[in-house]
């Protein structure tokens, strides 16, 4: 589904990703871990087409096509979703209306009719129930004044509405309380079928207790320095990153 080959990327002229290669197949869950500032969020943003991040070399194929040719909007429409580490606040824009715009953009792209607010409310209500979100999050402005955990839940709500092919969740677990983590993880598991794939960026094993990864990768200094199965996450939890970075 996704093939990243020797990807280099720079922001404001400073190289941050220094040759990432990674292959992800349908149905797989990949965990990406690594020290602060190692380039995990940068990878997520480059994959979703953030204009500030320049790809200096390398290749990314998504479902066999060159992903790097597409704009951020087009990447979303072909099914790439990023759950932001720091979701931005959008004052004045009603959350339900924002979600409906995003949903309708997909429908239009597929040549279908848009849904009106009433019909959309049914779709939205079901997903909000699944995530245990109260009604007030429909009427509030998108992310505006949301607590850290509420913002993360709202990201997963969007994922549930948009049904992406590939989801990249950037530290969705940070900020969630213990119960919310379980609810969100259950939701993500439900959404992730055999035709989807998931990249989970996280610092903690506890998320991986709920969403079982098939592979764990460690990024350090803009490179994947180690890949393994889910047991690698346990080792990291016990020992930190030092043994990996110094061994290199």
């Amino acid at each position: 589904m996704l093939e990243i080959k020797d990807l280099h990327s720079a922001v404001e002229g400073i190289e941050i990703l220094k040759g990432i290669s990674l292959t992800i197949k349908k149905g797989e869950v990949h965990a990406v871990m690594g020290p602060n500032g190692s380039g995990k969020s940068t990878l997520a943003k480059v994959l979703s087409g953030h204009p500030a991040y320049e790809v200096t070399s390398g290749e990314v194929l998504f479902q066999g096509k060159n992903l790097l040719d597409l704009s951020a909007e087009e990447r979303s429409l072909v099914g790439i979703f990023m759950g932001f580490q720091y979701p931005v606040e959008i004052p004045g824009v009603n959350n339900a209306e924002f979600l409906r715009m995003a949903y309708n953009a997909r429908l239009l792209n597929e040549g279908k009719d848009e849904v009106d607010p009433l019909d959309f409310d049914d779709i939205l209500q079901e997903k909000m129930d699944m995530l245990g979100m109260e009604d007030k999050y429909k009427e509030r402005s998108c992310n505006d004044g949301f607590s850290g955990g509420e913002k993360k839940k709202n990201e997963i709500l969007q994922m549930a509405i948009l049904k992406p092919v590939l989801s990249i969740l950037d530290e969705t677990d940070s900020g969630l309380d213990i119960d919310a983590l379980r609810i969100v993880a259950d939701g993500v598991n439900k959404l992730n079928g055999d035709d989807n794939a998931l990249i989970l960026i996280t610092h903690y094993q506890r998320l991986l207790d709920h969403i079982k990864p098939d592979f764990v990768h460690v990024i350090s200094g803009g490179k994947i320095i180690k890949s393994g199965g889910k047991e690698l996450a346990h080792e990291l939890e016990a020992q930190g990153y030092d043994w990996l970075t110094t061994a290199n």
Partner: protein
């Protein structure tokens, strides 16, 4: 990062859709202004003596006055001798019906979305169409007359209802109020007049559409609306002008009067040509005096404006809250881009007891533009228990625009309750990326953020106008995204 910010700014630019000119034969005075010109205008319009005297007094006053220097705007000195003070599309003969209006003029209004012909006219809105200096047509006149509402051009009102004009003209904006009001009082050529009799709710929206066509003509129109006891009217004003390299002066005066329990809701969507967005060349100087007097008890005047055009805007729709328990409101969205400059706001003058005012101002500045809010809340010594709420929000797009707020409060007694809120925000690249990551285009993202920012003002507009205002702002953002 600078290129990023500019790309947000680009999204605000647009081409001006109304920049065409119409070829009509017109009757235009030679440039220049002296007492003779003032007399000639009055004569041309066949006015009674009181009008000529009003004009002459104003002209004399104007000669003694100076252009105001306090607004936060910059422009070269205006040469008032290089403007023509009268221009009218030449009628084939005296205008008795629409058939005699130059078809080019009718076409112009149709192109602007304001059909005037009987079979095509808008169903729920009565329109007075002003082309350069004169009113060319007023629709639905008869239907309004059936309930006693007078809606006609100012010139007709001077002829047909001289006693009303004489009683109210200049009572809200005195002749010598300010430099441009004095000039307008001397040379105004036309405009609209509305009288709503007691106990009458206007069955439709009334509206004036102003169109400047001729280069180097000033537009000085005059509007007077009187709403008698227990009556209500909603009034809309729209305007456009062709694209010229030179600046044109628009110096209008609007006076509103409400008697006991009456309410006037006055809404403007202003889209005069703003000048070339790249060079700043050309565009309208919009120096307008708008003021309402809540003369009666418990009466209400509400100004809503969406200002999206003009090279320079200098405008403070205000309320004199004279009647006890009267209410003044000001809702404003001012968008500046290119090299536009706006210094706009309101004055709320609390004179009666228990008077209330609220002010909601939203300024959006992009590119190299400058956007200032200037507001005064003045409370007289007899205005006990007055209340004011002011909210003043600015949004910056890009790094080169600026926003300023100048709130003034002058109070003559201690029982005033005042609440003031202000904020400055910015459309960030991160916000736009967030929308795009969800499959929403950049263009829609900007329109959505701006509409969200302005919604407290838009919801004050009559439905059709709100839709038009939203479209206009979105249009200003079109063509840009790339």
């Amino acid at each position: 990062m600078e290129t990023k910010e500019n790309s947000v700014a680009d999204a605000i630019d647009n081409d001006y859709k109304y920049g065409f000119t119409t070829n009509v034969e017109s009757d235009t005075f030679a440039k220049g202004l002296d007492e003779g010109v003032v007399r000639a205008i009055s004569k041309k319009k066949g006015e009674p003596d009181f009008m000529l005297n009003f004009r002459l007094k104003a002209y004399e006053k104007w000669l003694t006055m100076k252009e105001p220097a306090w607004p936060n705007v910059q422009y070269p000195k205006i040469d008032f001798q290089n403007i023509s003070y009268y221009s009218a599309p030449k009628p084939k003969k005296k205008l008795a019906s629409l058939d005699e209006v130059d078809p080019e003029v009718l076409n112009t209004f149709e192109k602007l979305g304001i059909p005037l012909e009987e079979q095509k006219k808008l169903a729920n809105v009565a329109v007075d169409a002003v082309f350069d200096s004169v009113s060319v047509a007023t629709t639905h006149k008869k239907k309004l007359m059936e309930v006693g509402i007078i809606f006609c051009s100012f010139s007709d009102a001077v002829k047909d209802y001289p006693e009303l004009i004489e009683e109210y003209l200049g009572t809200v904006v005195p002749i010598g109020d300010n430099y441009y009001a004095a000039l307008n009082s001397a040379v105004f050529t036309d405009g609209s007049f509305v009288y709503i009799p007691p106990d009458t709710i206007s069955p439709m929206e009334l509206s004036t559409y102003f169109r400047i066509n001729t280069e180097e003509t000033g537009q000085f129109e005059r509007t007077l609306i009187i709403c008698a006891e227990n009556s209500y009217v909603s009034y809309l004003e729209g305007c456009t002008a062709p694209q010229f390299d030179t600046n044109q002066l628009h110096a209008a005066v609007v006076e509103l009067v409400t008697l006991d329990n009456a309410e006037i809701k006055y809404s403007t969507v202003q889209n005069w040509y703003a000048g070339d967005p790249e060079t700043g060349k050309g565009g309208i100087y919009n120096f307008v005096t708008k003021r309402g007097k809540c003369q009666g008890e418990k009466s209400k005047i509400s100004w809503t404006q969406v200002e999206t055009g003009s090279a320079i805007t200098w405008k403070y729709p205000s309320c004199i809250l004279q009647g006890d328990g009267s209410v003044g409101e000001f809702y404003s969205v001012a968008l500046t881009n290119g090299y536009m400059q706006a210094d706009t706001g309101t004055k709320m003058m609390h004179i009666g007891k228990n008077t209330r005012s609220s002010i909601i101002s939203k300024g959006i500045s992009a590119d190299h533009s400058s956007n200032s809010y200037r507001g005064l809340v003045r409370v007289g010594k007899n205005a006990t228990d007055a209340r004011n709420y002011t909210q003043c929000d600015s949004m910056l797009v890009g790094d080169q625009s600026s926003a300023h707020t100048f709130p003034y409060i002058e109070t003559g007694n201690s029982s005033l309750q005042i609440e003031h809120e202000a904020s400055t925000s910015k459309i960030s690249e991160e916000q736009l990326f967030y929308f795009e990551q969800r499959g929403i285009s950049r263009e829609n993202a900007i329109a959505t953020i701006i509409n969200g920012f302005c919604k407290d003002v838009f919801k004050q507009l009559p439905m059709e106008f709100a839709v038009e205002a939203q479209k206009l702002l979105t249009l200003k953002l079109e063509n840009s995204v790339g």
